[in-house]
């Protein structure tokens, strides 16, 4: 059995073999290699560069009368722009913030009080609420009404009633001049 010692592949006193070590090493390399492939493979499913490139739009507001609305597309989602009337603004500002589901003041949601700009996607499960046309159902709070599961938004786009957990999101935007905004 003296020649057998070689075939044993360098057994140490503690019973560990070189082969066992090599197997673990190979396994570890395999796992790292698989991970190194999986990350880019899964990441390739995230928004691609051209999708991201569509991420700003400029909107001319000069044609929207007081009380009127405009809908534009940004990142595949509708953006609701509302030229609010004086009553709508006071209504939005007078609400006691503590009674709201998602506690936000009206001031924190607008750049200029006359212009409300929100993402027109219900924060419940993503339907498009009604209320952009004057003939639409505006819900009990004068803003928007989502007919999918009955969420109601006020004149600041805040959730007031129904299953939606959050206010309509405010997209990042700024006024380029008095009548133009840039979204994104």
């Amino acid at each position: 059995m003296s020649a057998g010692a070689n075939i044993q592949n360098g057994q140490h006193d503690d019973g560990e073999t070189r082969r066992g070590f090599m197997q673990m090493l190979a396994g570890a390399f395999g796992a790292v290699g698989l991970g190194a492939f999986l990350v880019p493979a899964v990441n390739s499913l995230n928004p691609a560069k051209d999708t991201l490139a569509l991420s700003t739009v400029e909107v001319d507001l000069s044609d929207v009368p007081v009380g009127g609305s405009k809908t534009v597309m940004w990142q595949g989602k509708p953006i609701f722009i509302r030229h609010r009337t004086a009553e709508e603004i006071t209504e939005a500002e007078d609400v006691d913030v503590q009674t709201l589901t998602d506690k936000q003041t009206d001031e924190s949601r607008v750049e200029k009080p006359e212009w409300l700009v929100v993402v027109g996607v219900c924060t419940h499960l993503g339907c498009i609420p009604q209320g952009q046309k004057t003939t639409d159902n505006h819900g009990e709070f004068g803003g928007w009404f989502c007919s999918c599961h009955g969420s109601q938004y006020d004149t600041s786009g805040r959730i007031r009633k129904g299953p939606a957990p959050k206010n309509l999101a405010v997209p990042p935007y700024k006024f380029v001049n008095d009548t133009t905004i840039k979204i994104g």
């Binding site: 990142q75 595949g76 499960l125 339907c127 299953p163």
Partner: protein
């Protein structure tokens, strides 16, 4: 496989192949002489029917894919072209479209059969779980397939269902963006859905193979739910059950053809013939009929689970484990158990009322600090309802399989079936619908309660306390007794 003694075939070509690859030997063993209980009723047809439907879906699907274009600007028109211009395209599409429904009909009956006759019980637990995996994969495939024609229901169904995942805390939004490949359901979503819709049926095929393999290890259950004791209890699969399956299949396909040829759109929604419009949501979104009961459970959770309610539910769970699941309570005695039960119930109710009445301003009851908001609660309930089916073999440990010999199980199970259908109706109605002034979602919640109660409470209790009827000694004896009774009557 291959090393067992093999019987020679007379046909020289068959023999040449079989001696190199014993495929004919295996086919003969598993589908020819395979010993099968001799007392099957027609409920045992639906496995074979489901298999037929899977093949039908794959064959028609591959041909449709040759004419279909997965692009948001072309998809709807390519399906209309299939309907109007491709030779026989309307037929292929109607076979595929209604095929999804009939596939689900077959599989639902197949599952209810298994539940009624106790086919999920030892030793068939793994067989049952593989079946459930198939069911989940089918739901994924059908949901994704419904998106492909890119009509209004396709688009908005996809939007609502993918948005469910945003309920997952912290990572939800990222998962949804990852699924969409953008910031809304759009072209990247459609192309990846098409790739998956092509792939998943073949994954189903592989799992069906494992399912049947597991079946052929344990052998089939039967309407009496008792084990096969010897050759007098069985008959060879061929020709007896090949014929019976064939007959059942013909009847099934006749009904299927009635839909294909005379009312091809009866099971679908007409809004899906309007091209997808990301700017306008249809007034009333409904999923396909086979998802409705689960959709109703999703919508039944209209309240947020705040800390009070979760604490109450946790206490109730302790009572459930100690007094219902354990045969003897380990840590608690009855009076303490009752106290915990009462406290848990009261706390859960208090939490519920505190959530419903936000103006009470009870500390930590505000909707936005609830650990499980309504949206997440609904999603957990929906997936939980399917999880119940997965763990059913461990919830029902009663030694008798068939409901024929368990009157209490039979009654509670048939009630479950009726309520499940009622849930389907609730799921089909608008969210704000009500009956006699009571919102439908309240009924939805009550029925959801029974669904979970059946699995978590009734099944374990019945396992311990239901006595059951006396079982026949063998399948053979029961069949003979029935025959004699029948002859006695006719003589």
């Amino acid at each position: 496989m291959g090393n067992h003694p093999r019987e020679q075939f007379d046909n020289p070509v068959v023999e040449w192949v079989d001696s190199r690859l014993p495929i004919f030997t295996i086919l003969n063993k598993e589908y020819g002489v395979f010993p099968t209980p001799k007392n099957f009723n027609y409920f045992w047809n639906f496995g074979a029917i489901a298999m037929f439907m899977l093949v039908t879906m794959i064959v028609t699907g591959i041909i449709l894919a040759m004419h279909y274009t997965a692009n948001v600007n072309l998809a709807f028109d390519s399906v209309e072209r299939i309907m109007r211009d491709v030779n026989g395209g309307w037929l292929l599409r109607y076979i595929h479209m209604n095929g999804a429904s009939f596939f689900f009909i077959a599989v639902y009956i197949h599952i209810f059969r298994g539940m009624y006759y106790g086919s999920y019980k030892r030793p068939r637990e793994l067989l049952w779980i593989l079946g459930m995996v198939i069911f989940l994969l089918m739901m994924a495939t059908a949901f994704i397939g419904y998106v492909l024609p890119w009509g209004q229901m396709s688009y908005w169904g996809a939007t609502v269902i993918t948005n469910l995942f945003s309920a997952i805390p912290y990572v939800g939004e990222h998962i949804v963006t990852l699924m969409w490949g953008g910031f809304a359901v759009d072209n990247p979503t459609l192309t990846r859905f098409f790739a998956l819709h092509y792939l998943l049926p073949f994954v189903i095929f592989a799992v069906v193979f494992l399912h049947i393999w597991a079946l052929h290890v344990t052998g089939s259950n039967n309407p009496l739910g008792i084990d096969v004791k010897g050759p007098q209890d069985t008959i060879p699969f061929n020709p007896y059950y090949t014929m019976k399956d064939f007959f059942g299949l013909i009847v099934f396909v006749m009904i299927y053809c009635m839909f294909i040829f005379y009312m091809p759109d009866a099971l679908g929604h007409s809004d899906n013939y309007i091209p997808a419009n990301p700017l306008s949501t249809p007034a009333h979104i409904v999923p396909e009929w086979y998802f409705l009961p689960f959709y109703a459970m999703l919508r039944a959770i209209t309240f947020n689970m705040n800390v009070y309610m979760l604490a109450g539910l946790a206490l109730l769970a302790v009572v459930l484990v100690e007094f219902v699941w354990r045969h003897k309570p380990k840590y608690l005695n009855a009076p303490i158990g009752f106290l915990i039960f009462a406290a848990g119930g009261a706390l859960a109710l208090f939490g519920f009322l505190a959530d419903m009445n936000q103006d009470w301003e009870i500390p930590m009851s505000a909707a936005e600090v609830a650990p499980v908001p309504a949206k997440l609660g609904g999603v957990l309930t929906m997936f939980g309802s399917i999880a119940m089916l997965f763990i059913m073999p461990w919830l029902d440990t009663h030694p008798i399989r068939s409901a024929r010999f368990r009157p209490l199980y039979k009654a509670t199970f048939l009630l479950l079936f009726v309520l499940f259908v009622a849930l389907g109706y609730i799921g089909s109605q608008p969210a704000d619908a009500n009956v006699a002034g009571i919102p439908l979602s309240v009924f939805g919640l009550a029925l959801t309660g029974y669904y979970f109660g059946f699995f978590l409470v009734i099944l374990p209790l019945l396992s311990r306390f239901e006595k059951g009827r006396k079982l026949p000694l063998s399948i053979h004896e029961a069949v003979l007794a029935k025959k004699q009774q029948f002859q006695g009557v006719s003589a």
